[in-house]
């Protein structure tokens, strides 16, 4: 089930929330687990069994690790238990590719649609890995079955994160309680996310699909900007909806975005974009590998390993590996190149935005020749500078680009706060208008899935 489906907005969420509110306290967690299973299994009932299997595996695996009598045994058990999850991730992401390659090699035509990765697996499995590592490192208390089940299955963060480590989820939600204030803030946050997704991201999605094969210079720049904005509003919109939904139920989820396109460098960008994933890699891969407290060569290796894994996490096609290495190299340059001069802030921002934009060109296309053609066109090494199509889309979408640029680059939140402080009624009016517009868009628009669902 998707946050933007009408059945979620008008039936699932209100019913789940109302039942949660009237549910006796000891049964609240159980109700949330049931709701989460329903949410996951809505379109594919077999997913309920898959998620239940993962919950059982997490609970028993956690006990198995905790029962280790020495650190050595605990470590061995953690490797075994986590090893299966890593295998599962690789199996879902790569088995189909290997199978297809084998069929092509032996020129067979037999096809099965066996390896369809269940939605959100990359997110769920990464959270489970953090759960096992936290238990092995005694970073959390012995979890009860309901705590463990809720952590694995909690529906707001199930499909696209944020990836919250178990110890943080426990710490932040020890005193969670349903409140009017929480519901009010949750609805506001959800509305903001819904508007970002259906008004902005979906409009950019249509623009991108219309221009993605226009390899004129103008068309290539427009399509790259369209994708850059689409991805941000799509993912940030989903995260806002996830955080908002969790708030309504009295839970806190970690933030995932902090104005990423206002970053001053590639490293700064990754402190602001998909924060939960970069924090996960920092805490569970980079630091255990030794981080920067090792020899120079090993430090370089650690950075490249982390970025290679970040790329691989996103998908099984080569462009993701390339995209991961692109950032690995950029960050290496930033870390090791002596910074003798400082550019003005606005110029750094612009350069970083363009660097990120080129990164998304690699990210968006699995066909390497298309990446090459687009980059070539963007730098003007193409016969066609302007196509009739790109000109017409530029005229029709200039307003959309200006609006997106304004939201992304300007401190809109601060201005909004000033406005609310001055006119307290304006908040209610603005959010109501946003919600009504978003629902109108939702009813009128065509289906657009979330981009990160594929991961």
């Amino acid at each position: 089930m998707s946050f933007t489906s009408l059945s979620f907005l008008f039936y699932f969420l209100p019913i789940a929330l109302f039942a949660y509110a009237i549910c006796p306290k000891p049964l609240k967690k159980a109700w949330l687990i049931i709701v989460s299973l329903l949410f996951y299994g809505w379109m594919e009932p077999m997913n309920v069994l898959y998620l239940s299997g993962l919950i059982l595996y997490a609970y028993l695996g956690g006990i198995f690790i905790q029962n280790g009598t020495s650190w050595k045994i605990k470590k061995l058990r953690t490797w075994i238990i986590c090893g299966f999850l890593i295998f599962l991730l690789l199996y879902f992401k790569y088995a189909q590719g290997v199978y297809d390659a084998l069929l092509a090699l032996f020129q067979q035509e037999f096809q099965v649609s066996a390896w369809l990765m269940p939605l959100g697996s990359s997110f769920i499995l990464f959270q489970m890995l953090s759960y096992f590592i936290d238990i092995a490192n005694d970073r959390c208390e012995k979890p009860s079955f309901s705590d463990c089940a809720l952590y694995v299955s909690f529906f707001p963060k199930l499909l696209m994160g944020p990836i919250m480590p178990y110890h943080r989820f426990q710490q932040e939600n020890q005193l969670c309680a349903l409140s009017w204030n929480g519901i009010e803030n949750g609805v506001k946050r959800f509305t903001l996310g819904l508007a970002q997704k259906v008004i902005l991201a979906d409009s950019f999605a249509l623009l991108y699909s219309a221009l993605s094969h226009d390899f004129s210079t103008l068309g290539s720049w427009l399509s790259s900007f369209a994708y850059t904005f689409e991805l941000f509003f799509d993912f940030a919109g989903y995260t806002n909806m996830a955080i908002g939904t969790a708030m309504m139920f009295g839970y806190y989820l970690t933030e995932n975005f902090k104005h990423p396109y206002r970053a001053l460098s590639a490293r700064d960008f990754w402190r602001r974009w998909h924060i939960s994933l970069s924090t996960w890699f920092r805490d569970y891969v980079y630091i255990p590998l030794g981080g920067n407290r090792v020899s120079l060569l090993k430090h370089i290796g650690n950075i490249l390993i982390v970025w290679l894994l970040t790329g691989i996490w996103h998908g099984n096609s080569f462009n993701f590996v390339l995209w991961g290495l692109y950032y690995g190299i950029l960050i290496l340059i930033e870390v090791f190149l002596p910074q003798r001069f400082h550019l003005p802030k606005q110029l750094s921002r612009l350069i970083t935005f363009l660097i990120v934009n080129f990164g998304w060109v690699i990210f968006a296309r699995s066909d390497l020749s298309e990446i090459y053609h687009q980059l070539q066109a963007m730098f003007g090494f193409n016969d066609v500078w302007v196509s009739a199509q790109s000109i017409s889309y530029l005229y029709s979408s200039i307003g959309l680009f200006i609006l997106a640029g304004f939201i992304v680059f300007m401190p809109v939140e601060r201005w909004f706060q000033v406005l609310i402080n001055r006119y307290s009624q304006s908040e209610f009016i603005i959010y109501t208008c946003l919600l009504v517009t978003a629902i109108a868009y939702l009813l009128a628009s065509q289906y657009q899935s979330f981009l990160y669902f594929q991961f």
């Binding site: 898959y50 990765m117 269940p118 065509q446 289906y447 669902f453």
Partner: protein, 158 residues
């Protein structure tokens, strides 16, 4: 290993069984229910992106000669030009009529093949890739170079 109790041994066995089940569950694809409106919305968005238009009742009568009692809903998207064969037809049917509708779709593809045989090389290539598939109570006839990819994407998206 010496420290391993009987309880832990049972736990390992259970964990192994769960692991196997986790690998197998997603492979056993449940016979899921696809909603006609959802599929239509999906193909409508694809059709808009490709500048295809909704075909009217006369097109349906001419190209898909079906008794109106045999389906509950239908939507056809195609191009304006007669030389473009790309087409999506989405039917909502009763299970009993599914086979008949599928046959009509196959006939539509054969008819197009006949009209382009011998001279329309690109059209023939597209037609060779056409697919007719049943999703519960929805029958889909997808004529397009990327028919297989489209169906796969739809399965993932919905």
């Amino acid at each position: 290993m010496k420290q391993m109790t009987r309880k832990e041994l049972y736990m390992i066995i259970v964990l192994v069984f769960i692991s196997i089940a986790i690998v197998i569950f997603p492979v056993i694809k449940a016979q899921r229910i696809y909603e006609y409106e959802e599929i239509d919305r999906y193909f409508q968005s694809i059709a808009t992106q490709r500048e295809m238009e909704k075909k009217d009742a006369s097109f349906l009568r001419r190209c898909y000669p079906i008794n109106p009692n045999e389906y509950q809903n239908v939507q056809i998207y195609g191009h304006k030009g007669a030389m473009e064969v790309e087409e999506f037809a989405i039917f909502q049917v009763d299970y009993a009529n599914a086979e008949a509708i599928m046959q009509v779709c196959e006939k539509r593809i054969s008819a197009l093949k006949q009209s382009f045989a011998g001279y329309g090389t690109t059209q023939m290539e597209t037609l060779e890739k056409a697919l007719v598939k049943q999703y519960g109570i929805v029958i889909l006839c997808v004529i397009g170079n990327d028919a297989e990819a489209l169906l796969k994407e739809m399965e993932n998206a919905l």
